[in-house]
Symmetry: C2
Subunit: 231 residues, 2 copies
DNA sequence: CGGCATGTTGAGTCAATTCAACAGCAGTGG
DNA sequence: CCACTGCTGTTGAATTGACTCAACATGCCG
């Protein structure tokens, strides 16, 4: 596994090219540049676990390339994926000392990571760092709140429409999105079975609302109609 | 509407009696005692709106007596309640400037409130305050993550069992819980219809797992079996 | 080229919903 | 005091959206 260590002064050179941050500012970048904060690069293979639910929270991660799913399991194996993390996204931030979800690479993934210990230290003296940590957690919370509405009250088609628009916004570069995750992952994210996801996508294809290049390469042909289906 | 203003020095006298905080520490209390932070009391009537989705976030609230629901609506009226807030709980904390859910009193409710403006000011100079704000948001996030698992993957009976154990933990004082919310609220919290909630409760009653004093006064008779049903 | 992962589609089933009727209770006013 | 009214909760019957189970198609990797 390839590992590289970057000290604060050189970290700026690592800024991810061609990625528009979801946030107007880049809280992770702001933190990573603090004196005393050391960022490291690390690579995970497809399906490799980054951390497990209940494990001590030792690092904060930012995805450079690839994708990560974070999820919870029930004892009988039923799984709920809480979020997909894509290039530029930060994950693994847990004010409590233990992770509350498991994180796994969906595809081969490169992350930048910062020890929690140095974050705590930076936050203790630098109010702006503390504020950024809060902002990042709040961002996760907003997503979770929206997702509860989806899981509790939307129909299968509405869920898939919402998913497509979310992914389109987050990873479509050229009008085409290359989904890193399989149908089962999408189902476990949307609270559906993989078959139901597949049927909904086929139906949207039949209606001309989207077009497949391959099963995971999708272009939206009518965002307006899709937005109307989102409920 | 009765309003009372408390300055920091006297705020300690207002500590809510006979309420065990969900957290080992009391972040709200810690913040409310900061110099420059002024807490006010306010009363909302049953079904009165505390704030609406999209409104500017001006206050942080702590419930003294009563109960509040926070929810999101779809355009056709479908509702997802994200959380119930009970005495001692803090709600309305939003790092962004706008509320992302609507808050309504479930019954006549007394809250203590602190202006957001003074929080920002306190957090800018006091790292401990900043840390407490982060901790409170993280607490909301944890609940949301657990609730996504419930909404996406649990059966109706498992949802109701989880709900009963949550409420038992949070408001049972004498082995009896007095639910402030109606069946429709419970359904909208659990992603079910009110009829399904009612049927599940009746079934638990028939099985001797709980006992009704009235429709909203419930005593758990077998927490172990209920925990086993939680999945 | 074969073998396994992944994805699609069909048929039948079922858990939860919808629609409907009724019961219980609280508050109101004669 | 009791009928009246509205609201909340329960229960039954029929429906349905999503699931389960199954077969087959596709595509990728060695």
């Amino acid at each position: 596994m390839h590992t590289r260590t970057i000290t604060a002064p050189t970290a700026k050179a690592l800024d991810i090219p061609h990625v528009v941050m979801a946030e107007p500012t880049d809280p992770f970048g702001a933190i990573a540049h603090c004196s005393g904060v050391v960022a490291t690069e690390y690579t995970y293979r497809k399906d490799e676990e980054v951390y497990g639910e209940g494990e001590p929270s030792e690092y904060l991660y930012q995805i450079i390339r690839g994708a990560v799913r974070t999820y919870k399991l029930l004892s009988d194996g039923r799984r709920q994926i809480g979020a997909f993390h894509l290039p530029g996204d930060v994950f693994g931030l847990d004010p409590s000392s233990e992770h509350r979800l498991t994180a796994e690479a969906i595809v081969d993934t490169i992350v930048r990571l910062v020890p929690r210990r140095s974050l705590e230290k930076a936050a203790a003296s630098n109010v702006q760092v503390a504020r950024n940590l809060w902002t990042m957690t709040a961002c996760d919370l907003r997503h979770a709140e929206d997702h509860m509405l989806l899981l509790g009250r939307k129909t299968a088609m509405e869920r898939v429409a919402t998913f497509l628009l979310e992914m389109d916004r987050r990873l479509a570069k050229t009008g085409m999105m290359a989904l890193p995750m399989c149908r089962r992952d999408i189902g476990d994210y949307l609270g559906l079975t993989l078959e139901t996801v597949s049927r909904a996508l086929s139906q949207l294809n039949d209606q001309g609302i989207l077009m497949f290049s391959s099963a995971r390469e999708i272009a939206l042909r009518n965002r307006q109609r899709l937005t109307a289906m989102e409920a």
